[in-house]
Symmetry: C2
Subunit: 486 residues, 2 copies
């Protein structure tokens, strides 16, 4: 029986009205939402991200800028991207510093002789071959260090004993990393022979925490090293006895000639009129030399590469080009990110959004952004699709991450996926940054978050506006500097 007109007219009217209203209120089309949700759900039970970080850590391992591992990582990334089917896979040369850690020994020689577990800070010069043997002066902060004079520190070793508190947002790291980056300036100005610091991390294990020193000279002016937390406890205890404490520090780090590394780039080309616009998925390929770079930043490499792979396998080309960039040398000064920003200066305005993963593989619990105000409705809509995987709505002040900072400062909007960092600083920059610290399910939840947001950004008509260019200078170690990035 043919009954084309049996539906009452008033109901049809109502449905049409509803559809129209929905279309007006909703920026993300239903089919894009549906595909994003399908990708999100697929990511939650996928294995590609774990396989990627497993392969990178087990087959390449440590890959600090300029090292043999760095070159191996670039070759690995090219092969992986091509193997996964990304297009326009290419490298982009980046000049990088090449600092080698060498060896280190540190001993308390009085009042109670004991060995200390230490590691040189990135950029530190070597001690003389016979080492530095001097009395230790302890302070708890950069301000306390700056309150001392050459009378206090001349010919001595400055010990900055600042304890990093554990926090979900990793907030305790900021002050500690500033000591690590800048303490040696203040110590050297006051004629100290060396600086040692308590590790800028929360590990209770005998693994010290490295990281780069900011420096105007190469190598930096005085040797600097970090003690494992238990060793800082030991030194602090001996100092509390009131007896003079002397330490013998001997280390052999050195700079080799600046060399060439590369950003590795692969794409899913867009289709149609938005194809020249870019959704930028970013992580960094280098790592510190002590661990195998699993959480920093093998996880990020895996998350963004897996997100691209899922979108590729989903079939339809996105409207915008999705570009994965694995940056060279984040750790020693963002060389790759700065080079990318220079190389692509003319098309940074075509980078409609950047998504960086560089805080491990802990569960994403907050989605924030830094986009134009009138794009916040899109952020709300994306968040609605992320809420089911346990993600709260954040504010519009996301930093976007270190590697994206040159492009963000040039006006590129960014998303921010805040991961649970409760244990991040137990492993970060230490020998303990190894594959076993990554939980597969948490890693997959990260992929789910990134793939959802990236897919939507690449497939909706609207963009996220532009940010006001940020022309503030980079961070420095000036005593009055108040724009240190956190």
């Amino acid at each position: 029986m043919f009954e084309p007109n049996t539906t009452p007219a008033p109901l049809i009217t109502l449905l049409l009205l509803f559809t129209t209203l929905a279309a007006q209120a909703q920026i993300i089309p239903d089919d894009v939402s549906a595909n994003a949700v399908a990708l999100r759900n697929l990511a939650m039970r996928d294995s590609i991200a774990y396989e990627l970080v497993e392969s990178l850590t087990m087959e390449v391992g440590p890959r600090s800028a300029g090292s043999a591992g760095d070159a191996a990582a670039v070759a690995w990334a090219v092969q992986v991207m091509k193997g996964l089917g990304l297009q326009n896979v290419r490298t982009e040369e980046v000049r990088v510093p090449h600092w080698e850690r060498g060896s280190i020994s540190a001993h308390i020689t009085a009042p109670f002789p004991q060995q200390l577990v230490a590691t040189s800070l990135g950029g530190s010069p070597a001690t003389l071959q016979e080492g530095i043997h001097a009395e230790v002066v302890r302070v708890e902060s950069l301000n306390e260090l700056r309150a001392l004079t050459s009378d206090d520190l001349g010919g001595k070793i400055a010990f900055v004993d600042h304890i990093v508190e554990r926090a979900k947002d990793g907030g305790g790291y900021s002050a500690a990393s500033r000591i690590r980056s800048c303490g040696h300036y203040a110590a050297a100005e006051r004629d100290a022979l060396a600086m040692i610091i308590r590790s800028a991390g929360t590990s209770t294990h005998r693994v010290p925490h490295t990281g780069s020193m900011l420096s105007n000279s190469i190598p930096a002016d005085i040797p600097a090293a970090a003690l494992a937390n238990a060793d800082a406890d030991l030194l602090a205890y001996q100092l509390k006895t009131g007896k003079p404490v002397t330490v013998h520090l001997k280390s052999s780090p050195r700079y080799l000639s600046e060399t060439t590394s590369a950003n590795v780039i692969g794409e899913i080309p867009g289709r149609g009129e938005l194809a020249d616009e870019v959704v930028l998925l970013a992580a960094h390929l280098d790592s510190w030399d002590l661990g195998t770079g699993a959480i920093d930043d093998g996880a990020g490499v895996a998350i963004v590469t897996a997100a691209a792979k899922l979108i590729l396998d989903q079939g339809d080309a996105p409207r915008r080009t999705i570009r994965v960039v694995l940056f060279a040398d984040e750790e020693f000064g963002l060389s790759g990110a700065k080079q990318y920003n220079r190389n692509h200066a003319e098309i940074i305005e075509k980078h409609v959004i950047g998504l960086e993963a560089d805080f491990g593989a802990g569960q994403v619990w907050k989605f924030s952004s830094r986009v134009a105000e009138d794009a916040l409705t899109i952020i709300d809509e994306i968040h609605a699709l992320l809420a089911p995987i346990g993600i709260e709505r954040g504010n519009n002040k996301a930093s976007g991450g270190a590697d994206l900072s040159p492009m963000r400062k040039a006006g590129m909007p960014v998303f921010g996926f805040t991961q649970d960092g409760t244990h991040y600083f137990d492993y970060h920059h230490t020998p303990d940054d190894t594959l076993d610290k990554i939980d597969r399910d948490e890693l997959n939840q990260n992929v789910a978050a990134y793939v959802t947001a990236a897919f939507i950004a690449a497939n909706i008509e609207q963009d996220f506006g532009r940010l006001t260019p940020d022309t503030r200078r980079d961070r420095t170690c000036s005593a009055t500097d108040d724009d240190w990035e956190t």
Copy 2:
């Protein structure tokens, strides 16, 4: 008003009857119980045990047999015992082996070159100066190793990849420690050049686990080393690729001449006719060289010394002599315990009970014993005073601990205080065995348990009988050996 006879006669009768019955059923006199409870409660809020282990770890630190730290530890213990007011403080010479760790490097050279974090096993010889560079053959157990032949292992490196499972009773350690103790025999018999094992511990950190090899020759026949768990993962991963995996192992441990250390002894002399009987409080003073020996066995030293100090301060001399013995060289073959057993062979029968602390500072959760059957009522009564601090009643099969084993085998009864070992093998025998792993409240609960039991044992009329002498041979590495102590 004087009213001596106002209490009704029947009530007096009832009280007398009750007292009589109680006296018959109860071995521990009320005043002894009351004093034991007072000591127990005092121990729970005391600070002496923590101060002792803090001082030992921070001021002496590593103290492996024969080292400078060993001598410093003996001097420390004498000074501490005298300072606390113990009597008859003395040392008893013990000949000890003196093995030095030297340095080690281990690298995978193919298929994916990476450095491995490793440490030599105690007693290992050095590799040749150019190291051992050979293919690796992986097995998961001692039985699998023994199933191989020279055709499989000749000229290669045996890798025994056994994973220790975490357990409250530390039970996973037994099989792993047997591999560490005996694997090299089986590997050498099959012409392997070296043995490497996965650490016999549960740590997920980049800190390998040392421990002694059993050996008929000094040094042992082939070099042996343990990999940190993450490094064993790495080696296992590369082996799973099916490609030949080669490792370059280079190490320089060595034996120096046998030397002299000492057991350190201090007493609270008994009074009256039981004064020649001994309640033995035991721990070991030596430690491995990698950490500062906080949980193994600084905690034990602190627990038994603090227990003695509390009894001393309580005022009245005990009926039996309480003797604290801090044994030399537990780790490298129980040298101190065996020497003590030889030196005091004639009066071991006067040692009515032994209490050893050598499993860290985790909460005691079970009180067991190995005493004559007819003394079990006393154990029940002691347990009743331990139950309020969270301690269950165990069986009568306690081992009593490694250092007490020579005396136990000679017939001395022992108590057993089972500590929570869930995290013990995260730290034990690794660089991570440092003071920060000790919780003050848990340490105090240990002292409370030991002081309660020791005080009662020293002050009751009854003793604990004698054990049937155990004449079984010491553990060996025979393939058919079934009396390996767990």
